[in-house]
Amino acid sequence: MRHGRAFWLFVGPFAAGLLVFVYVPIGWSLLLSFFDARNTVTPTEFVGLRNYADMLTDGPFLSSLGTFSVFAAFIVPLTFVLALALALLVNQISFMQAFFRSVFFLPTACSYVVASLVWKLSIFNGLRSGVANTVLGWFGADPVAWTVSTSPPWYWLVLVTLRLWLQLGFYMILFIAGLQRIPVVLYEAAALDGARSLQAFRFVTLPQLRTTSVAVLLLLLIGAYQAFDEFYNVLGTDRGYPPFARPPLIYLYYTALGSGGQDFGHGSAGAVILTLLIVGVTLLQGRVVRR
């Protein structure tokens, strides 16, 4: 196909940006993963697969992958079900629908960092005066150190509610869009056949939402493995990040860019492993869902 000048005028800047800021760094990172690249991005010492071997036997990295596989197994279905439920509810009400849609969508516009600080400093701080502890106080309970205590691990409550609050609205909108594309005639036909609302949901709504569902699951899954912002801002301190609930990306961030030694070789190898894991899980999921 021949492209005119207008085509390159519009596509060119974007393509150039993509090449320079995305593809070249990815390729470079791949290259670095085969070198001993400490405090340099132009390394000379080729080490083959040693960085990969190191990362695959590195306890903290493996445990972060494990933790986040569990996290994904938990947060993905939860967000999926809640977003779908919210979409069904909002889609059914006949008055102020636009209002409710906006209300639930609004948190999506909030920055992860800002929301993290509100959750950490205001709602879930460990003081008696914190919002959550004040509520507990009404029932005579002692204040809880939400983000500090590891037994029980209350920090998951903080992180999961935060993520749900930020994300639900966005996925709800995706589902609403999907729901509104389902032809009304299908429901009418189902009703004529005597389907109750639950049966209509099971045999009309769900199958019709398949494409939306696959997309939502995919986005949620990638999002779970890419967790960084709220974890870093809620649990990170100036002394580093604690060994629990440590997302792979945070561990790699400290490996590659931590103060006291930048190790781009191991960091890049870890990033490649994480990418392969995401691709693998995504393919697996796609196969399971499509069946």
């Binding site: 405090n39 903290p60 983000t147 500090v148 301190t237 490996t255 930048q262």
Partner: protein
């Protein structure tokens, strides 16, 4: 009220300023030296360092003030050719080995003996000095005298007494001690080792590969489970808010907090070093100093060295101003710190004494991020999860040994 025309002219001026201020990471026409600072919290520091730079007549110096994650930004910029010529940091062995820093031994001249040796050590890697210490910072334990008197508790001189004090001073809405929102493992890990006469790294060997380390770190677990710790405060340990607001009877924070605490509590407070593990052991305070360094990739290393010599060796009045007029630091040179009137009374005088007698490097150059992560992870698991201290520390020591072997062979 602002008229529309005035508003427009303001907007225009703003755009103009923004255009001037756009910093490309290189000094304008290549004539100016570029100097980086992290963003000091105290008001006035930025204006002060800009004033110093302007007063240097031999070369033009542009100061860049860097809010946010300074360490990462600096480390990344040192990889490229666009980094600053002069910057402040603490030297890391990894940067030295990667050839990023210029040795500054010849810059010191006769002044070298005037710098306190323990501070210079933190800027020395493989026998060479890579930074001129600018300002000494240290951490210590602040305690509320009146609450101690009320509860009939003596200021602690052993770790057990500290734990006991934290427990006994906890009453209703006041907790005994605040040592960070991670439960103390982050800031007290080092002091706990020192309390037992151990260290992070000692003579190129792991300094905590010792059964006593498990006892010392185990004490932090005891403290954590004593019920005397404040957990989840709004501001973390580096800010004295919890202590100043009366939420705790003791807080681990830094010398920089003295002015704020004084303002809030008058003289109803005292300071202590971290106590020793046993009677007769030695107390400790973590000490560190940002130093002025020269980028080895700078195209004008000689000019940069001249500038740092002028600013941090010759201009002693600037050092005094920098250390004592804004926040609260100890000048690294004895000739200045000894005659500074601000440091001769009260908590500040105690702090100077602690630094003289009990100083330990909070961040030694060969304590790499890999070792630090392994050690902090171990301490966190011991303190917060109750994991067995000996096994956890042995694991961290193994990691540290591997790193030291890589560094020193």
């Amino acid at each position: 009220m602002i008229s529309r025309r005035r508003l427009l002219s303001l907007a225009g001026a703003g755009a103009l300023l923004a255009a001037c201020g756009s910093n490309t990471g290189r000094g304008g026409n290549g004539q100016a030296l570029e100097q980086w600072y992290h963003a000091y919290g105290e008001p006035g520091v930025q204006q002060a360092v800009e004033r110093y730079a302007k007063a240097y007549t031999k070369t033009q110096v542009d100061v860049q003030w860097n809010p946010g994650d300074y360490d990462s930004k600096l480390a990344t910029s040192l990889l490229s050719d666009g980094g600053p010529d002069v910057f402040e940091s603490t030297p890391q062995i990894s940067s030295v080995r990667a050839g990023q820093l210029v040795p500054l031994d010849d810059v010191f001249g006769d002044a070298r003996s005037d710098f306190s040796a323990s501070i210079l050590d933190t800027h020395t890697v493989d026998g060479k000095i890579y930074g001129i210490p600018q300002a000494v910072d240290m951490q210590m334990l602040f305690y509320r005298k009146s609450l101690f008197v009320q509860a009939g508790v003596r200021p602690p001189s052993t770790v057990d007494e500290l734990i006991d004090a934290a427990r006994r001073l906890t009453t209703g809405s006041v907790k005994g001690l605040f040592a960070g929102n991670d439960g103390g493992g982050g800031v007290l890990g080092g002091p706990a080792l020192w309390s037992a006469g151990l260290d992070y790294v000692r003579d190129h060997q792991v300094g905590f590969d010792d059964p006593l380390a498990a006892t010392a770190i185990g004490k932090l677990r005891e403290l954590y489970t004593s019920g005397g710790l404040l957990l989840g405060a709004v501001k973390d340990w580096a800010e004295p808010d919890a202590f100043a607001q009366g939420l705790v009877a003791m807080q681990w924070t830094g010398l920089w907090a003295v002015p704020a605490v004084q303002k809030a509590l008058g003289d109803d407070f005292g300071v202590l070093p971290f106590p020793s593990l046993r009677e007769g052991g030695s107390a400790s305070v973590p000490v560190g100093a940002f130093g002025a360094m020269v980028n080895a990739k700078s195209k004008r290393i000689d000019e940069a060295k001249d500038f740092v010599r002028w600013l941090w060796i010759e201009k002693t009045d600037y050092q005094e101003d920098f250390n004592l007029s804004y926040g609260f630091h100890i000048p690294p040179r004895r000739s200045i710190s000894e005659k500074a009137s601000k440091l001769t009374t009260g908590a500040a005088a105690d702090a100077v004494k602690f630094v003289r007698d009990n100083a330990k490097a909070s961040n030694p150059p060969d304590w790499t991020s890999v070792m630090r992560t392994a050690f902090n992870d171990a301490v966190s698991r011991v303190v917060r999860d109750g994991a067995p201290a000996d096994a956890e520390l042995r694991g961290a020591a193994d990691v540290a040994r591997g790193e030291l072997k890589r560094l020193y062979g």
